[in-house]
Symmetry: C2
Subunit: 195 residues, 2 copies
C-alpha cells in the first residue's frame, strides 16, 4: 500500500499547481483574476445548486467528479480564454499530453478512471458532460454583468459571439438557466452599444 499511497500523494501534490493557473475571468469584487482551482470549486457549487435545471436527469456524483478534474490539464497546457484566439488542434494536443503526464502520476486504475471522466467531459456526448459544460460557462457572464463587462471588454466580445460560445452549451445543458440569463445579457449588450 505504501507505493500506491506514494503515487496518490505525488499526484495530489502536483495538482497544487492548478492554484497558480490564472484565468481571464475576475473575482466578483474585481480584486484580481481567478485561478483555475478556485474556479473548479465554484463550478461544482454551481452544479450542486442548479442540478434541477439540467436538460436531462444526471448523476450528480459524476458531474461533480468531472468538474473536479476538468481543468487539471491546465497545469501543463495553460488556460485558453474562451474569447481568445485559440489554435484548437494545438490546444487539444497539449491537453492530451497533459492528461497523460498528470493522470499518469496515479496508479493505473485511478489514471484510467480520471482520464475517462476528462475525455467524457470534453466529448459532451452524455447528459452529465452536457450539464457540466453548461455549468462551466455560467460564472463568467454572471461576474461580467456585475463588473460592467469584465472579460467582454478585454476581448471585445459581441452578443452574437456570446450566444455561440456561451449560449449554445448553456442552452444545451440547462435551457431554463439560459432563458433566465439571456435577457440580462441582451439588455447589457444593447445598453453598452455592443449588439
Amino acid at each position: 500500500m505504501s507505493a500506491r499511497l506514494d503515487a496518490q500523494i505525488a499526484f495530489l501534490k502536483e495538482a497544487d499547481h492548478l492554484k497558480a493557473v490564472l484565468r481571464a475571468s475576475r473575482l466578483l469584487d474585481d480584486s484580481r483574476f481567478e485561478n483555475s482551482a478556485e474556479h473548479s470549486w465554484h463550478v461544482m457549487l454551481y452544479a450542486l445548486v442548479l442540478v434541477e435545471h439540467s436538460a436531462e436527469p444526471v448523476d450528480i456524483a459524476r458531474v461533480l467528479k468531472m468538474l473536479l478534474l476538468h481543468d487539471i490539464v491546465e497545469i501543463d497546457a495553460g488556460d485558453a480564454p474562451i474569447h481568445g484566439d485559440v489554435d484548437h488542434a494545438a490546444k487539444a494536443a497539449a491537453e492530451e499530453a497533459a492528461a497523460e503526464r498528470l493522470f499518469g502520476l496515479l496508479p493505473d486504475d485511478l489514471q484510467h478512471e480520471f482520464k475517462s471522466l476528462w475525455v467524457e467531459f470534453e466529448a459532451e456526448e452524455t447528459p452529465e458532460s452536457r450539464f457540466a459544460k453548461a455549468i462551466d460557462r455560467m460564472p463568467t457572464p454572471i461576474t461580467n454583468l456585475e463588473l460592467g463587462g469584465g472579460s467582454w471588454i478585454d476581448y471585445n466580445v459581441t452578443l452574437e459571439q456570446l450566444d455561440h460560445r456561451v449560449g449554445v452549451p448553456i442552452n444545451g445543458g440547462a435551457p431554463g438557466v439560459w432563458g433566465w440569463l439571456r435577457p440580462k445579457l441582451e439588455s447589457w449588450f444593447h445598453r453598452n452599444g455592443r449588439a
Copy 2:
C-alpha cells in the same frame, strides 16, 4: 422559476467571497497563503483519490458534497487556524449564524439540504463525515513537510499537538493514510528538535 433562480444565483455570487478567505497554510511552492475556495477544491480531489483508504465504506457523492460546502461559513466567520488559540464556543456560534445567513440565501429545500450536510460534517458521527474530516486534515502536513515546517513553525507546533489535532481525525477516518504519514512527521519533528 425566475424567483427561484434569482435566489440560487444570489447564493452562488455570495459564495465567491470564499476565494478571499485566507488560511494559515501555504501553497506548495510557498508563493502565498492558500484561500478556502481552492483548499475546498483540493480536499475534494484528495477525497476522490484516497477514498479506498476510508475506514468505513462511504458514499463518495455525500463526501464530495460535504467538502464542497464545509468552509462556506468562513465567508462570515473567518478561518480559525487549527493550531491557533480558538474560543470554541464563540467559533461555533459565529459559524452557526453564518450558516443561517449564507444557506438562507437559497430556496428553503436547498437551504435545509446544505445546512444538514454541513451539520453532519461538523458532528463527525457518520462514515462520510469521519472520512471527510480526515481528508480535510491531510494537505497541510503534506505541504508543511515539503516547505520545511510551514505553519508548524508559525504556530510553534509539537508532535504531540499534531498527533492530537491531526492524527486523531486522520487515524479515525483513514487509518492507512495515517500509518503512511505518521513516520514522516515523527522523523521531521525529531530532525528539527521539536519532539
